[in-house]
Subunit: 180 residues, 2 copies
């Protein structure tokens, strides 16, 4: 049975549709499969309903949203819980602010070329953003600041989900956060 | 070594100065002493800085403050962490809302007669409230709705801290949340 040796935060950042949620769900599944009893996933759907429903999508509000999530992630990981956060989190400074606060912060840049995202576009969001029906859409008319030194970079346009999961599990094992 | 069998929330509610923080600190100390590796305490000082700095002390803001804390407490306790929340939390409805959401919610009414609180008043807050220098002070010119069916009631004007701690630890042990 695998064991968590120290709580950690896996912070998935990247554009809408890049694969953050899919990947975090797979990691959660894997950790549970190897016997980790508690794993907490946080994403926009839950958090914006429960913790940050007062906030919109301006830079200040996006930053405050991420700050609150960061506080919760820190509490969980300080208590030994692997915490998986999947948020576009477009701004570098606030991501780094959270990095400073968390003991084991692992930034995972979930990259996919914009061209591919626009082609896939399963929810039609990029089309709407390009047509101007949605305003302030990250990557189209709102900025995304890629991480400068992420612990892990994943290109979901070329890597398989299995390979991506392997890469992340292998990283946290090598960092001695997880014992297999 | 004692073990947590299931995460739980100890929710300490009561007037300012009634002894919520003291008691939650003692419970934290006790749980750590008997070998529980992780215990999380949440109180106004931390939470209002990190999670709810946008909020004031109106009824709506107090309720939203408690709601966010409740969400965090639920996350922690769902992950097996004993979570100790010390908040005046004057309104019944929002306390009950959190009770519904948390699996093991234990409401602890930390009672002390107002007369005694006004006599003790180590921070001089009651004096200021009575003199009208502080407005909206719970118990003086802002309401406090006592719990109707708290799991545990403590009268800090008559019980010793040791007895109070014993009463709480014995309760969670009997409820099979803690194994000694």
């Amino acid at each position: 049975m695998a064991q968590v040796k120290s709580g950690f935060v896996l912070w998935f950042t990247g554009l809408s549709g890049s694969g953050k949620t899919t990947l975090s769900l797979e990691i959660e599944k894997r950790l549970k499969n190897i016997g980790i009893p508690y794993v907490q996933r946080l994403d926009g759907d839950v958090v914006r309903k429960e913790l940050t429903r007062d906030l919109g999508f301006s830079k200040a509000d996006r930053d405050e949203n991420i700050r609150r999530v960061g506080f919760v992630a820190k509490l969980l990981s300080d208590n030994g819980i692997p915490t998986l956060c999947a948020f576009i989190s477009p701004y570098k400074d606030v991501r780094n602010e959270i990095r400073q606060k968390c003991s084991n912060f692992i930034e995972i840049f979930v990259y996919c070329p914009l061209k591919t995202l626009i082609e896939r576009d399963p929810k039609g969001l990029y089309k709407k953003a390009l047509d101007g029906e949605i305003k302030g859409f990250t990557g189209i008319d709102d900025p995304y600041e890629p991480p400068e030194n992420p612990e892990i970079t994943i290109d979901t346009s070329v890597e398989s989900v299995d390979d991506e999961v392997e890469k992340i599990i292998s990283y946290i094992t090598k960092k001695d956060l997880l014992e297999m």
